[in-house]
C-alpha cells in the first residue's frame, strides 16, 4: 500500500512540470504587446508599452521565459500576480480557504444526498420516489450549472432576498476584517463558531446555500444514477437473493450486504466527482461572485496574468492528482480484490 501511494505521489512533480510546459507553450500565441497590456489601464499609457516589455522581459522567447520562471520557482517564488496585486503564493493562500469551504460542504452534500437517493431509488424501484429522482437526475445532468445558479439567484435572492451572493454580507465582512475577529482556519463557518460570533456563522451559511445547491445539483444527479444502477445490480445478485430467502429484513439486506458492494463503483467515481467539483467551482464562483480561487483564476485568464494562471493551474492539477490518489486508496480499502494486486 505504501509503495502504491508513494508511486502515485511521484506523479505530482511530473504533472506539475507538464502543466507548466503546456501553459508556457501557449505563450507562443501571445504578442509581447498583449502581455504588456496587463499593466495598462488606459490608452494614455500606451506609449509605455515598449518600456514595459523591456522591463518584464516579455520579448524573450517562450523557452527563455520558462527557464526564468523555473529558476524563480526553485527559490520558492511563484511570482507576482498583477490581477491580485500580491504574490501568487499569497493570493492562492488567501483565496483557497473560500473554495475549500464551498467544495467541502458541496462534496459532503453530494455524497450524502446522492448515495441516499440512489439507494432509496433502487430499493423502491419504479415507485414515485424512483421516478422523481430519476427525472431530477436526468434533468440535473442537462441543465448547465450557471443557468441553474442564475435561476436560483433570481428566485431566492432577487425575489425573496434570503440567500445573497458573495461570501459575507457587508456588515459581517467589515467585522471579520476588523481586529476583533481572529481568523483561525480561513473557513468562515468554522471561524465564526470559534470566535463565538453566531450571527456571522448564520451569515456565512446564508451565503453558502445557493452556491452549494448549484454545485451539488449536477454532480448529485450523476451520483444518483450510478448508485441506483449499481444498487440494482447488487440487489439482483445471488448472495442478496440468498439473504432474502433466509428471511432477513429488507433493511438488513440493504444495509449490511448490498450497500458495501454497491458503493465500489461509486468510489471509483469519486475521482470523477472531484474533477467535476473543481470545474464546477469556477463557474459557480463566478455566478455568485464568491471570492475563491475559481473566480480569481478566470479573471486572471481573461487579463493574461500569466504567473497567476500558471499558479492557478498548478494548484488545480495538484489537487486533482491528490484527489485521484485518495479515491484509489479508498477503492483499495473497500474492495479486497484490489488490495492483493
Amino acid at each position: 500500500m505504501t509503495g502504491f501511494i508513494l508511486r502515485r505521489l511521484l506523479l505530482l512533480p511530473f504533472v506539475a512540470l507538464g502543466v507548466s510546459v503546456l501553459i508556457f507553450s501557449l505563450l507562443q500565441f501571445l504578442t509581447p504587446a498583449m502581455r504588456a497590456s496587463l499593466y495598462i489601464h488606459d490608452p494614455k499609457q500606451l506609449n509605455a508599452l515598449p518600456d514595459i516589455i523591456r522591463k518584464f522581459h516579455l520579448d524573450r522567447p517562450a523557452y527563455v521565459q520558462y527557464w526564468e520562471w523555473l529558476k524563480q520557482v526553485a527559490h520558492g517564488d511563484l511570482g507576482w500576480s498583477e490581477t491580485a496585486r500580491e504574490p501568487v503564493a499569497d493570493a492562492i493562500r488567501g483565496y483557497f480557504p473560500a473554495t475549500l469551504e464551498l467544495g467541502a460542504y458541496s462534496f459532503a452534500c453530494i455524497l450524502a444526498l446522492g448515495i441516499w437517493l440512489g439507494t432509496q431509488s433502487a430499493v423502491h424501484k419504479d415507485r414515485l420516489l424512483d421516478h422523481v429522482s430519476r427525472f431530477t437526475s436526468i434533468s440535473g445532468a442537462s441543465l448547465p450549472t450557471f443557468v441553474w445558479g442564475l435561476l436560483l439567484l433570481m428566485v431566492f435572492y432577487g425575489h425573496f432576498g434570503w440567500f445573497p451572493p458573495d461570501r459575507l454580507s457587508l456588515a459581517a465582512g467589515l467585522f471579520v476584517r476588523s481586529p476583533g475577529f481572529h481568523p483561525h482556519t480561513g473557513l468562515m463557518t468554522i471561524d465564526a463558531l470559534l470566535n463565538r460570533q453566531w450571527w456571522i456563522f448564520w451569515d456565512a451559511v446564508r451565503h453558502l446555500v445557493l452556491p452549494v445547491a448549484t454545485l451539488t445539483y449536477f454532480l448529485t444527479a450523476v451520483l444518483v444514477r450510478i448508485t441506483r444502477s449499481s444498487m440494482l445490480e447488487t440487489l439482483r445478485t445471488d448472495y442478496v437473493r440468498t439473504a432474502r430467502a433466509k428471511g432477513l429484513a429488507q433493511r438488513t439486506v440493504v444495509d449490511k450486504h448490498a450497500r458495501r458492494n454497491a458503493l465500489i463503483p461509486v468510489i471509483t467515481l469519486a475521482g470523477l466527482l472531484f474533477v467535476g467539483l473543481l470545474s464546477g467551482v469556477v463557474i459557480t464562483e463566478t455566478v455568485f461572485n464568491y471570492p475563491g480561487i475559481g473566480r480569481w483564476g478566470v479573471s486572471a485568464s481573461q487579463q493574461l496574468d500569466i504567473p497567476a494562471v500558471t499558479g492557478f493551474a498548478l494548484i488545480f492539477s495538484g489537487l486533482l492528482v491528490l484527489g485521484n490518489l485518495c479515491a484509489d486508496v479508498l477503492y483499495a480499502l473497500v474492495d479486497p480484490r484490489i488490495r492483493l494486486q
Binding site: L11, V15, G18, V19, L22, I23, L26, L27, F29, L30, I138, S139, A141, S142, L143, P144, T145, F146, V147, L150, L151, L153, M154, Y157, G158, H159, V222, R225, I226, S229, S230, E233, R236, T237, D238, P265, T268, L269, V275, L278, S279, G280, V282, I283, T286, V287, G297, V298, S301, Q302, L304, V309, F312, A313, F316, S317, L320, V321
Partner: protein, 317 residues
C-alpha cells in the same frame, strides 16, 4: 460514465424467442428495443426537433446581417423588452431578438458540438490507433500525454486556452476539442487493444494483410459503436462547456446567436427593477430552456444508444 459490469450476467428466460416466430434481424431488434423505452423516444423527438430548427433556421428567422449568426437588433436602447409584437420571445440587452437567437442558436450548438466531436475523433483515430495497435513505448508516451491533459479540470483548461488564443467561436471550439480528445483517444485505444488480439484480425495478419489495411477494414468498423455512444453522451456536455465559456466572456461574442452568450447577457438583469425582481425573466428562461432541452435530448438519446448498442449491457438493466 463507467458501465457497471455484473459478475453473473443473468439471462432472463423471457428473452428466448418463442417457438413459431420468425427470427428478427439485428436492426429490427435494435429498433424495437429502442422504441420500447419512452425516454429514448422522447430524446429522439427532442433532437429531431432541434435538427429541424437548425436546418430551417434561414426560413424561420430571416438573417439581416451579412453573418447570419449575428442577431439583428432593432434600435440601441439597452434595457431588455418583454415578449410582444415583432419579438415573440422578447429582446435581451441592446435589443437582441431572443427568438432569432434561439433559432440560430440551435445551429450554433450543432456546428460547435459536431466540430468538436469530429476534431476529437480524428485525433483519436490517429493517436489511438497507433497507440493501441503498436503498443510499446509509443503507447506509453501517448498515455502519459493524455494523463497530463486529463490532469486539468476541463473548464479551466478551456478557459486558459481561449484566454490565450483570443475570444472567438473558433478558438472556443479548439479549446474544447483539446479538452475532449484524451477521452476519445483512450476509448479508441482500449478498443484497439481489445480487437487487436481477436482471432479474425490475427487471421488477417497471417494472410499477409498490411497494417493500415487491417486497421481500416477490420478494427475501425468494430469500434464505431462505443464511439457513437461516447459522442452522443458527449454532445450535451460540449454544448454546456461552450455555453459556460460564453458565459465567462470567452466564447461567442456579444450579439452572436448562441444560447450561452444570451444567458450571459441576462446576468445583469436577474434582479429586475426596484419594484419587481422578475421583470426580465425572459432573458434567462428563454435561452435557458433551449439549452436544457437540447442537452436533455442528447442525454436521453445517449443513454438509449448505450442501452441498445453496448453488447456488454445486454440482458442486464
Amino acid at each position: 460514465m463507467t458501465a457497471v459490469r455484473s459478475s453473473t450476467p443473468a439471462i432472463p428466460l423471457s428473452r428466448a424467442p418463442r417457438a413459431g416466430r420468425t427470427v428478427e434481424t439485428g436492426w429490427h431488434r435494435t429498433l424495437r428495443r429502442f422504441r420500447r423505452n419512452p425516454l429514448s423516444v422522447l430524446g429522439a423527438v427532442i433532437i429531431a426537433f432541434f435538427v429541424v430548427l437548425a436546418l430551417l433556421a434561414p426560413f424561420l428567422a430571416h438573417p439581416t446581417e451579412r453573418n447570419p449568426f449575428m442577431i439583428p437588433h432593432s434600435g440601441y436602447a439597452s434595457d431588455p423588452h418583454p415578449p410582444g409584437p415583432g419579438h415573440p420571445f422578447g429582446t435581451t440587452e441592446e435589443q437582441f431578438d431572443l427568438y432569432y437567437g434561439v433559432i440560430w442558436g440551435s445551429r450554433t450548438a450543432f456546428v460547435v458540438a459536431l466540430s468538436v466531436v469530429a476534431t476529437a475523433v480524428v485525433i483519436a483515430l490517429l493517436l489511438g490507433s497507433i497507440s493501441g495497435y503498436y503498443g510499446g513505448p509509443l503507447d506509453e508516451l501517448v498515455m502519459r500525454v493524455t494523463d497530463i491533459f486529463l490532469a486539468f479540470p476541463h473548464l479551466i483548461l478551456a478557459v486558459v486556452i481561449v484566454a490565450v488564443l483570443g475570444q472567438s467561436v473558433r478558438n472556443a471550439v479548439i479549446a474544447i476539442a483539446v479538452v475532449e480528445w484524451p477521452t476519445y483517444t483512450r476509448l479508441l485505444r482500449g478498443e484497439f487493444l481489445r480487437v487487436r488480439d481477436m482471432e479474425y484480425v490475427q487471421a488477417a495478419r497471417a494472410l499477409g494483410g498490411g497494417d493500415p489495411h487491417i486497421i481500416a477494414r477490420h478494427v475501425i468498423p468494430n469500434t464505431i459503436y462505443p464511439m457513437l455512444i461516447l459522442a452522443s453522451l458527449n454532445m450535451g456536455g460540449i454544448v454546456i462547456t461552450f455555453a459556460a465559456l460564453s458565459f465567462l466572456g470567452l466564447g461567442a461574442p456579444i450579439g452572436y446567436a448562441d444560447w450561452g452568450q444570451l444567458i450571459s447577457l441576462s446576468h445583469n438583469w436577474i434582479v429586475g427593477t426596484a419594484g419587481d425582481p422578475f421583470t426580465f425573466w425572459y432573458t434567462l428562461i428563454v435561452p435557458g430552456t433551449a439549452i436544457f432541452l437540447f442537452v436533455l435530448g442528447w442525454n436521453l438519446l445517449g443513454d438509449a444508444f448505450r442501452d441498445v448498442f453496448d453488447p456488454r449491457l445486454q440482458g442486464s438493466r
